[in-house]
């Protein structure tokens, strides 16, 4: 199953030639929408392949323990049961791997314990898969799964990263002493220490970056198909790019690349979570091989809460050194990052490298040091969630700045202005090692302050007070470093029916890539917008693909499409030279037409494609078609940035916080499609508000998850969404052809910072300096009570 997305035909034939309407920068509506609003999306669980059997996963109910036995006899005898597989059955396959190439501070290798798809000797978290049951129907599989007897000798569990580092803490792996997967360090400790020693003021905060559930609305689902005759594997599954997922699976299945195919249809949200291979996929592929039938598995929501990787979960001490005038001298982060029970594919990244890259933000901070201990605990593994270290890094910095302003008696706006990197200093070499190619941080700051009417805040605060509410205003500047470079495919194929297909390896899981990618291609080649399709979910079609993640898609696929278009033009010139009977070097390409320079003799690209389809005879050794399969060289990271301003009202009696106003000014470089960019910001901001106000994964002392359903895990709902002001202040990126910067994760970065700063601002009347996320009613109320008692 692949989903191809094609725009609807325009109202009139001339419409789509009007570049104005579908050109770059136009708010072209998403081409997916008519399908999705009718419920015609094809998500993995909607598939029903002939002969399909159903799998259910048996999971550990203990957070930590030794497996003494798995009794499958009773379950095997139950109606409809086709097969039950445990670790021993999967021994021939490879393990799930962490792909982060970081080293310990002493230069030694990090610990990467192997993770087989099913737990064999030990279970290490509640939800750890131990067996897979396959039956004719889903109900039969569920019933049988319940009948599988797993005997586990429980061991003490540890769920908090800092607790796992304590002497005597339960050990997850024999060969990982002290549970330390990675002892990461960045920066020059001596210089940083010297800067702190000389500082006129040091601000220090300990901050908890909450553990979150990713909670894509579509639970994970997959169908595994093994074709015995061809010794070929097909996995239908959500992903964030089929190329990367295939690479991982090829490794695990130990199969030649041409024997593995990934097909991704519509994806119901992912936010980093569906990017990698999960144990269930290996299990059902194996089951399909054994049974000779397609095997489908779909998680239920309780399963999702423990089996999908979680996000965030860092315990951080942040320190900012300032001189007497408030210039930043150095920033230092010392943290524990919770990895869960295994290293996810990019698990260690958020708390280490991405913290380094992003904490520097829009400020001149000459020195930077980050120490992070990545710890194993008896919890679900932790990995990328919208931002993967980007919102976190910015959050630490912005909280430190507000705290420093309060402590030093400085104005928090002035303190930011003083330290902003100026346009004249760009390109700027940040202490993170990144070189910012573009940006106008002071101007964006000014515009954000104006848009938010900060002057009127005092009056609004008085008005809130009259209604018994505390009001606070928070500022959140941010700068994100988008995902590191990756090769990306730009494929362009002229189809027999006259459509043109873009083939690329990023993957839309809600972003709506089809329209903006088509806008780019249309602008390059003058191909009518409504004739352009997007193909992204079939690994057989790809020669490269970095996938979607780290806000990279428009920049990576955009560059790939631009470069591939240039090749199409080259090939087109050669072919047109035969049609127009002129030398290829005399042919120019202009607005969709190949023209003999200085004449009015020309042929349109679509017409040329039609001639080729019609059997145009072309000399051997010359291009035979306009089709291009191109893999672009990677484009560098970009630096989207901006400033968000939030106002909150707090009811001091109950601790209830409400975000009442929200505005943002953002530099995403050139916007290909402002409509979609705004949508990304909205979504990101609300996820940020969710983390700031309510979301939190809780474990009890046995390692059982307490927030294991949407009733117990608070998700933001419609009424939590304030109107969100969005302004684009583009300063085009200089390092990619479209000048784009990426917008997918920025909303989170702006919201965590601005909302939490606003809450602390409101609570500052009690002398409160910091409050951790989530600012739930109970936590805010407790802080108020404690502050009042302290003051009394």
């Amino acid at each position: 199953m692949t989903v191809q997305t094609k725009p609807p035909a325009p109202a009139s034939a001339t419409d789509d030639w009007a570049f104005a309407k579908f050109g770059i920068g136009q708010p072209v509506p998403r081409t997916e929408d008519p399908v999705l609003v009718q419920g015609q999306g094809r998500y993995t669980d909607d598939l029903q392949l002939p002969g399909q059997a159903h799998a259910v996963v048996v999971r550990s109910t203990h957070a930590h323990g030794v497996i003494r036995g798995i009794d499958t006899a009773a379950a095997r005898a139950m109606p409809g049961v086709l097969g039950i597989y445990t670790a021993a059955d999967l021994a021939a396959y490879g393990t799930l791997k962490c792909g982060v190439p970081l080293k310990n501070r002493d230069g030694s290798e990090m610990k990467k314990p192997l993770r087989p798809a099913l737990a064999g000797d030990k279970v290490r978290f509640v939800g750890d898969p131990v067996a897979i049951v396959v039956a004719e129907t889903l109900l039969q599989a569920k019933d049988a799964a319940e009948a599988v007897g797993v005997t586990i000798d429980p061991l003490p569990a540890v769920t908090l990263a800092s607790a796992a580092a304590k002497p005597g803490a339960p050990q997850l792996f024999e060969d990982v002493p002290g549970n330390v997967a990675l002892d990461y360090h960045y920066g020059d400790s001596e210089k940083v220490a010297a800067a702190f020693a000389q500082a006129a003021h040091v601000t220090k905060l300990s901050m908890r970056n909450t553990r979150l559930i990713v909670a894509a609305m579509e639970p994970r689902s997959a169908v595994g198909v093994y074709d015995k005759a061809r010794e070929h594997w097909t996995l239908h599954s959500a992903s964030q790019g089929v190329f990367g997922l295939k690479g991982q699976l090829v490794d695990i299945l130990k199969a030649p690349p041409e024997k593995v195919r990934i097909l991704t249809g519509h994806v119901g949200g992912s936010f980093g979570m569906k990017a990698t291979v999960y144990p269930e996929y290996v299990g059902i592929l194996h089951a399909s091989r054994m049974l000779g039938r397609p095997v489908k598995w779909t998680d239920d929501r309780s399963g999702s809460f423990v089996s999908d990787h979680h996000g965030r979960d860092h315990e951080v001490t942040g320190e900012l050194a300032l001189d007497k005038d408030g210039h930043f001298l150095a920033v230092r982060l010392t943290s524990f990052a919770n990895m869960g029970a295994f290293l996810a594919t990019v698990g260690p990244l958020a708390g280490t490298l991405n913290a380094v890259k992003n904490v520097a933000s829009v400020y001149r901070t000459p020195l930077l040091e980050v120490s992070a201990k990545c710890m194993f605990t008896n919890t679900t593994h932790v990995s990328a969630y919208r931002g993967a270290g980007r919102p976190e890094g910015n959050y630490y910095m912005e909280r430190l700045i507000d705290a420093a302003a309060t402590e030093m008696g400085l104005d928090r706006l002035a303190l930011r202005r003083k330290n902003h990197i100026r346009p004249s200093q760009i390109p700027y070499s940040a202490s993170s090692g990144m070189t910012y190619d573009s940006g106008d941080f002071p101007a964006i700051f000014k515009e954000a302050i104006d848009k938010a009417d900060i002057k009127g805040f005092a009056a609004r605060k008085r008005d809130s007070r009259k209604r018994g509410k505390l009001r606070g205003l928070g500022i959140g500047c941010y700068l994100e470093v988008t995902a590191p470079p990756n090769k990306e495919m730009g494929g362009i194929r002229f189809e027999p029916n006259g459509d043109v297909t873009i083939i690329t390896g990023t993957l839309d899981y809600g972003q709506g890539h089809a329209a903006p990618f088509a806008q780019v291609l249309s602008a390059q080649l003058g191909i009518p917008f409504h004739r352009i399709r997007l193909l992204q979910g079939d690994s057989d079609e790809l020669i490269a693909g970095g996938g979607t993640g780290g806000s990279r898609s428009i920049t990576a696929s955009g560059a790939a499409i631009v470069e591939a278009s240039a090749k199409v033009i080259e090939q087109g010139k050669a072919i047109a030279s035969h049609v127009l009977e002129a030398s290829a070097s005399d042919i120019e390409f202009d607005k969709g037409r190949f023209v003999i320079a200085g004449t009015d003799r020309a042929i349109g690209i679509m017409e040329l494609a039609e001639k080729i389809r019609g059997g145009l005879q072309l000399p051997a050794g010359e291009p035979q078609s306009l089709d291009v399969k191109h893999a672009s060289e990677s484009v560098p990271s970009a630096f989207p940035n901006g400033c968000h301003v939030a106002e909150v009202e707090i009811d001091p009696d109950t601790g209830v916080v409400e975000v009442v106003t929200y505005s943002s000014v953002n530099d995403f470089g050139n916007l290909i499609n402002p409509l979609l960019v705004e949508g990304q910001v909205h979504g990101g901001v609300l996820q940020g508000i969710g983390q700031a106000l309510m979301e939190n994964v809780c474990y009890d002392s046995d390692g059982q998850i307490l927030s294991g359903s949407f009733m117990d895990y608070a998700m933001p709902r419609a009424h939590h969404a304030p109107p969100i002001g969005f302004v684009s202040h583009p300063v085009p990126a200089k390092t990619n052809p479209l000048g784009t910067k990426g917008c997918g994760e920025a909303g989170c970065a702006g919201a965590l910072t601005s909302v939490m700063n606003a809450i602390v601002d409101a609570l500052s009347v009690y002398g409160i300096r910091h409050i951790d996320m989530p600012a739930s009613p109970a936590r805010v109320w407790t802080a108020i009570q404690a502050a009042k008692q302290g003051a009394a």
Partner: protein, 472 residues
């Protein structure tokens, strides 16, 4: 006898499936209508929302429900509309779908069918489409992608337009109702039509499960896969659907849903109505009943403290006749009630407030919408010449069962309604309740918040301006 209903305008007579198959599984698995999604199967996310019609004064009225919590026989006699029936058969989008497209209100699209159906039902309702009404209508639907704002924007423009599939179809004739029961594979589902039939069944099958809206029981079916051998469904009993407002008493039949009760609650007890509007979501309130809430007898059943404070009574019925019991005596403990094996709840009645009586209820939870309470508080009282009379204060979430706060009442009754008197309640609350600490809130939070809610009633009733509340 098959279960009869209409699906997107087409008659259905369903046989050969378990009577405890959920509507969601039926739609996706049997009908292969995969537009309706499963996001949780627990009533929390709304991805499974479908619209159910019932006869109204001006033609069919649609309401949004969670198909994951309903079993197929609950469709008996009804018109069911799924996302596949919203657009015209020629693919013309329904205005709700248009509004979603125009507002850029879908991203991954997984939540979208559920939102579209909730919005469709909302569009058919009279009344304004201001932000509060929209938030209420959408509270049962989760979206992780869009940040909701575009969806809220799309809701502002809604107009009542019939579903595409119904516009083009003549309404089919013939009976849509099922028989007295539906059997399959050893399971039986009774659909009594009168109180007498129900009483007979109850006596005959004391082990059969009584099913109301199914918003508590549905979880056992969809999550635990319980296949109840025998079910007696109360909602087809017309007497249990009655609502009356006369002689100073409001009476709701046991099968009256929260949504159906709301207009009268609004009229007489606006504060109770506001609290009921926060029970679950629109989808839940279109199914759930007071009777179900009472019979479940959960310590955090939201209506129970309110009914206690209002001195409401429960009508328990058997073949032999019926008795009225005060709610306080009906609730015996943690999930324990005074209902006998052969009894069922027939109605709940609430005496209207006398002159000068005040009633106020509060619910504290992690979220405003669709959340289980941390603390619920309900107060009814009069203040004459500045003195508190007949205060009835009841709390939920403070103990193993909802209960009146006798010490609080004693501390305030006959006392001046003043800050001095209020100063005593912290101690009184601590005498009344020893709440537990859990991940919803610590014991200290519960105690202090409960006391603050008493302060809040005081502030609201004395100043009419909650302005001073924050400074207390």
């Amino acid at each position: 006898m098959p279960i009869r209903f209409r699906l997107n305008g087409m008659p259905r007579a369903v046989e050969g499936i378990s009577p405890t198959m959920t509507v969601l599984d039926y739609l996706r698995g049997v009908e292969r209508l995969t537009g309706t999604k499963e996001g949780c199967a627990e009533g929390d996310c709304g991805a499974c929302t479908v619209a159910l019609a019932k006869p109204g004064q001006n033609g069919p009225e649609f309401e949004a429900v969670n198909s994951c919590l309903m079993v197929v026989p609950q469709l008996d006699g009804r018109e069911v509309l799924t996302i596949e029936g919203l657009a015209g058969r020629d693919g013309t989008l329904h205005p709700v779908q248009h509004a979603l497209v125009e507002a850029d209100a879908t991203q991954c699209g997984f939540c979208t069918p559920g939102f579209a159906m909730a919005m469709f039902a909302f569009s058919q309702e009279p009344g304004g489409k201001d932000d509060d009404a929209i938030h209420e209508a959408l509270a049962g639907n989760l979206c992780r992608c869009t940040g909701y704002r575009p969806i809220v924007d799309a809701c502002r423009k809604l107009q009542p337009v019939p579903a595409g599939c119904l516009k083009e179809l003549p309404v089919a004739g013939g009976s849509m109702s099922s028989g007295a029961n539906y059997c399959n594979g050893g399971q039986i589902f009774h659909l009594p039509k009168s109180v007498d039939e129900l009483a007979v069944l109850r006596a005959q099958f004391p082990d059969a499960i009584l099913l109301g809206g199914g918003t508590d029981l549905g979880l056992r079916v969809s999550k635990e896969r319980e296949a109840f051998p025998a079910v007696i469904w109360t909602v087809g009993v017309s007497e249990l659907k009655r609502v009356s407002d006369k002689d100073g008493v409001l009476e709701f039949g046991a099968a009256v849903t929260y949504s159906e009760a709301l207009p009268l609650l609004e009229k007489h007890f606006p504060s109770f109505a506001a609290l009921v509007r926060r029970i679950g979501s629109r989808q839940i309130r279109n199914l759930g009943t007071f009777a179900g809430n009472l019979a479940t007898a959960s310590p955090i059943g939201d209506t129970i403290p309110c009914l206690m404070a209002l001195n409401a009574e429960v009508k328990l019925h058997t073949q032999a006749g019926s008795r009225w019991l005060p709610v306080e005596q009906f609730i015996l403990g943690y999930r324990k009630t005074a209902m006998a094996q052969d009894e069922f709840i027939a109605a709940v009645r609430i005496p209207l407030l006398g002159k000068d009586r005040i009633f106020t209820a509060y619910k504290l939870s992690k979220r405003f919408d669709q959340d289980i309470s941390t603390v619920v508080a309900a107060f009814s009282l009069s203040v004459t010449s500045g003195v508190v009379r007949d205060l009835r204060a009841a709390f939920g979430g403070m103990a193993a069962q909802a209960a009146r706060a006798k010490h609080v009442e004693a501390a305030l009754n006959g006392q001046p309604w003043s800050e001095d008197s209020i100063a005593r309640i912290d101690q009184a609350i601590a005498q009344d309740f020893q709440p537990m600490s859990d991940h919803r809130g610590a014991a200290a939070y519960r105690l202090c918040a409960a006391a603050n809610l008493v302060r809040r009633v005081h502030a609201e009733t004395t100043s009419g301006q909650p302005a001073q509340v924050w400074a207390l």
